[in-house]
């Protein structure tokens, strides 16, 4: 068998389906999978970056860049970039009123309909936008694993309600992923830490991320990770710390420079970048400078913030995380002395004040051996491995964070499944009719801890169809089931006949199945474009490499040894390839011309190789790195 010599890469990735764990974060997203040794590993890009900023950039109203390139664009062209989409998932415009000034995007929507973000001519749901981030992660995973990735576990804050979970699952579907399971971020983190060196114990996970705060208390025994309680705040995260500092900067700019920045997307982006940098610096330095130069300002405005001042500004936000921690302990019927380990998760736990507060509350030094930004994705990968049968020694038993109930007379919420119930959980309720000939019973399902419907979050409405009979005669049993994803499923049975009744559940917030279907069709069209684009990028990268090598070869003595005809053939192939790249030809055409150039330059490659080998044997090319000291 001869050795093929050429300028191109000969290896193509082999097809192998893989499952991954995805941390779809407010600020950053990550993807991980379990390696051959059974240990979860973060999947990185070729440059070694493990994080995909959850940021999208648009051009002419179309998503144009995701992740790091989009983050750079956010600074150059903030009007065409979107971030912190996770905070909008499963939400309606009316939910976001109090926070609107922190979102410099054009938000649209009526009543409880899904919020939409306007970009030029088009509007997008948060689900669609998140699907682009997921697709980016999927692409990264496919590149790192060298094969197609079709199945994933995606994490959500433990306190996400039904609509937010569904929105996340739908985003996965739109990204072409089979979502094996939606799991809670703190629980995933506990899985990533694994059993450690003991078989049983009680663990508290304190998860302070970019947009949400969660705390979960777990009991671990015999490989079962059983969540005893969870509590949190879906509207509390590192973003709130940024917003606090941004308000200060805006006030400073207004007072000292007379600059008004309200509603100015450029200024918003610049200030946001400056305060985030200062916040991060203050985790290691005693003070940081916030310096802001906006368009039209001759000199930058700057201020110095000491760590003590910073802690004074955010003290109440950190304090707000401690309430849910105490609640979680009450619900789990344990005290701080019963907790064996505390785990820190999320970027905001790098703040020294947060660490001190956690340590004081629980009375022990928290763990942060695993990078708090990576731990959730790693845990999700472990769960993905369990779900495809990779391991049986671990089992996750989570709880529902919110009580589930139905509306009864007088607008009272009658709870059927209480919060902190282990999932899957279900409750059966029997219904009958109140007037003769009634053909249906309307049911309104809600989530929340309050007594009245008005204070709870509407989840869905549906009508159970009933055969026309005298009042009180029909009996229909409805089963409300919260599955292992924390998502509601409803089924109904006619008690007399035992026949199943179909139930058409209409989500109050979020998308109907039809809407998801439409988006899916749309995404499928995009998926082809995406695939073509990815192939093209790869082909062009390969082409660049080959072109560079060929041109170097032509300039070397080896190039001088070529015959005129050979030389002309190579020049022709080079021109053809360059034209294909410049003309934005399809990936297949670029690839064909790369192959043609490789073919034409085969002898040149041999000559270059021979020259290199000749040099080596002449002994004048001793590798310089090996010189000892």
């Amino acid at each position: 068998m001869g050795i093929e010599v050429g300028f191109g890469r000969s290896q193509r990735p082999t097809e192998r389906p893989r499952v991954v764990g995805i941390d779809l974060g407010t600020t950053n997203s990550l993807v991980a999978s379990v390696g051959e040794a059974g240990e979860p590993v973060l999947l990185r890009d070729p440059q070694g970056g493990g994080v995909v900023p959850s940021i999208l950039a648009f051009r002419d109203g179309e998503v144009d860049a995701v992740g790091e390139p989009a983050r750079r664009r956010l600074l150059e062209d903030p009007e065409n970039a979107v971030y912190s989409v996770k905070r909008l998932m499963g939400r309606a415009l009316e939910d976001m009123e109090s926070q609107r000034r922190h979102f410099p995007f054009a938000l649209e929507g009526e009543g409880t309909s899904v919020i939409r973000i306007r970009m030029g001519e088009r509007t997008y749901t948060p689900t669609e936008l998140s699907s682009h981030v997921l697709r980016e992660l999927r692409g990264r995973a496919e590149e790192a694993l060298g094969g197609a990735v079709q199945k994933a576990v995606i994490t959500v804050p433990a306190h996400f309600d039904d609509a937010q979970r569904q929105a996340t699952r739908d985003a996965g579907k739109l990204a072409g992923l089979e979502v094996l399971r939606i799991i809670n971020e703190p629980t995933a983190a506990a899985l990533a830490y694994g059993l450690g060196d003991r078989d049983r114990g009680v663990v508290a996970v304190y998860d302070f991320g970019g947009g949400t705060f969660d705390v979960s208390i777990l009991r671990i025994r015999g490989g079962v990770f059983e969540v005893l309680s969870t509590a949190g705040d879906t509207y509390l995260g590192g973003d709130d710390i940024d917003n606090r500092l941004m308000d200060d900067v805006r006030a400073g700019l207004e007072d000292e420079r007379g600059v008004q920045v309200a509603g100015d997307a450029d200024a918003h982006a610049v200030i946001r970048e400056a305060v985030t940098a200062a916040k991060i610096a203050l985790s290691s330095d005693p003070e940081a400078t916030i310096s802001v130069q906006l368009k039209g300002m001759e000199t930058p405005w700057s201020t110095t913030l000491t760590r003590a001042e910073f802690e004074g500004r955010i003290g109440d936000l950190v304090e707000r995380t401690l309430g849910p921690c105490r609640q979680a302990m009450v619900d789990a019927e344990i005290g701080p002395e019963d907790i064996d380990d505390v785990i820190l998760v999320g970027g905001s736990t790098r703040i020294p004040l947060v660490r001190r507060s956690v340590e004081t509350l629980f009375g022990r030094t928290p763990h942060c051996e695993i990078d708090p930004d990576e731990v959730v994705a790693l845990g999700a990968a472990v769960q993905a491995d369990v779900l495809v049968g990779g391991r049986r020694d671990l089992l996750l038993l989570d709880v529902t964070p919110l009580s589930l109930g139905i509306e009864t007379m007088g607008g009272v919420l009658s709870k059927l499944i209480h919060r902190n119930s282990t999932i899957p959980a279900s409750a059966m309720e029997e219904f009958t009719t109140s007037v003769d000939g009634q053909t249906g019973v309307d049911i309104h399902v809600l989530q929340g801890e309050r007594e009245f419907v008005a204070d709870s979050r509407s989840l869905a409405r549906f009508t159970i169809p009933i055969e026309s009979m005298p009042a009180g005669i029909p009996r229909v049993a409805v089963r409300f089931m919260i599955d292992a994803n924390g998502i509601l499923n409803v089924s109904a049975v006619d008690v007399r006949t035992g026949r199943e009744r179909s139930v058409d559940v209409k989500p109050t917030y979020g998308l109907t199945d039809d809407e998801v279907e439409t988006m899916l069709m749309d995404a499928l069209n995009h998926a082809e474009e995406d695939m073509e684009r990815r192939l093209r990028v790869e082909a062009c990268q390969e082409a660049d490499g080959v072109l560079e090598a060929v041109e170097k070869g032509l300039d070397s003595p080896a190039g001088g040894a070529l015959g005129g005809e050979e030389r002309a053939a190579i020049d022709g192939a080079v021109e053809a390839l360059k034209a294909a790249i410049a003309g934005e030809e399809k990936a297949s055409i670029v690839r064909a011309r790369v192959d043609a150039l490789n073919d034409a330059s085969k002898r040149l490659a041999h000559l270059v190789m021979d020259a290199a080998l000749g040099k080596l044997s002449a002994g004048d090319a001793a590798p310089s790195e090996q010189s000892g000291t």
């Binding site: 094996l180 399971r181 025994r221 015999g222 079962v224 059983e226 769960q383 369990v386 779900l387 495809v388 049968g389 049986r392 089992l395 996750l396 038993l397 119930s421 282990t422 999932i423 899957p424 959980a425 279900s426 409750a427 089931m481 919260i482 599955d483 292992a484």
Partner: protein
């Protein structure tokens, strides 16, 4: 749970009581640690996580089983839960409990006073709020313990009772159950007021 011929997971039985679902005898007094271990054993066998690669039908059965096991465990993992389940199995509902026991006059008077005290605490007009709350709390706490003791002794009697004496013991359990609901309502009110009053102040000298 599994078909003896093909090994496939079968659907759970409808209408089984919580003890039956967990495969345990109907008892008020049980070792709660053992109950929890039983729950985990069943969960290990039935949880959807371990049936992810099974047929859609088996996956649906696994989900139904798993939720039924969780629901059953939730109902009987506490003493009060088990008493409620035993009563329900024998056709005693919450409505029958309300007729079985009504708070006597002297208790009503005491509760009236406690509620007044809690109202005052909520309005924020009480000077030594934590002390006042503490004394009300200890009264209700005492009642709670009383009910618990009653449940344990009647529960013990029920667990060993023969067919003839069972009905009488059930009636007594029903009384305890009704008393429990009454005291539990009051207790949750105490908890609410406790939250509105807030944590007791740090003792001097603990700061600095």
């Amino acid at each position: 749970m599994n078909c003896t011929a093909c090994g496939a997971l079968q659907p759970p039985q409808q209408g089984a009581n919580s003890f039956e679902v967990l495969g345990l005898p109907v008892r008020v007094l049980v070792d709660e640690e053992a109950l929890s271990t039983r729950h985990l054993e069943l969960t290990r066998a039935l949880h959807p996580d371990f049936h992810g690669e099974a047929s859609p039908t088996e996956q649906a059965h696994s989900l139904a089983w798993s939720s039924q096991v969780n629901d059953a465990h939730r109902s009987v993992r506490t003493l009060v839960g088990r008493v409620g389940e035993v009563l329900a199995i024998h056709g005693r509902s919450m409505e029958t409990a309300e007729t079985a026991w009504r708070p006597p006059q002297d208790l009503l008077m005491e509760v009236f006073e406690i509620n007044e005290g809690l109202d005052e605490l909520e309005s924020g007009s009480v000077e030594n709020a934590h002390q006042a709350l503490g004394s009300l709390e200890s009264i209700v706490q005492g009642w709670k313990e009383d009910v618990r003791t009653g449940m344990v002794s009647h529960g013990e009697a029920w667990d060993v009772a023969d067919e003839l004496s069972r009905e009488g013991v059930l009636d007594q359990l029903l009384v305890e159950y009704a008393r429990h609901s009454y005291v539990a309502n009051l207790w949750s009110r105490v908890e609410r007021v406790k939250r509105s009053v807030g944590a007791p102040p740090e003792r001097a000298g603990e700061e600095s």
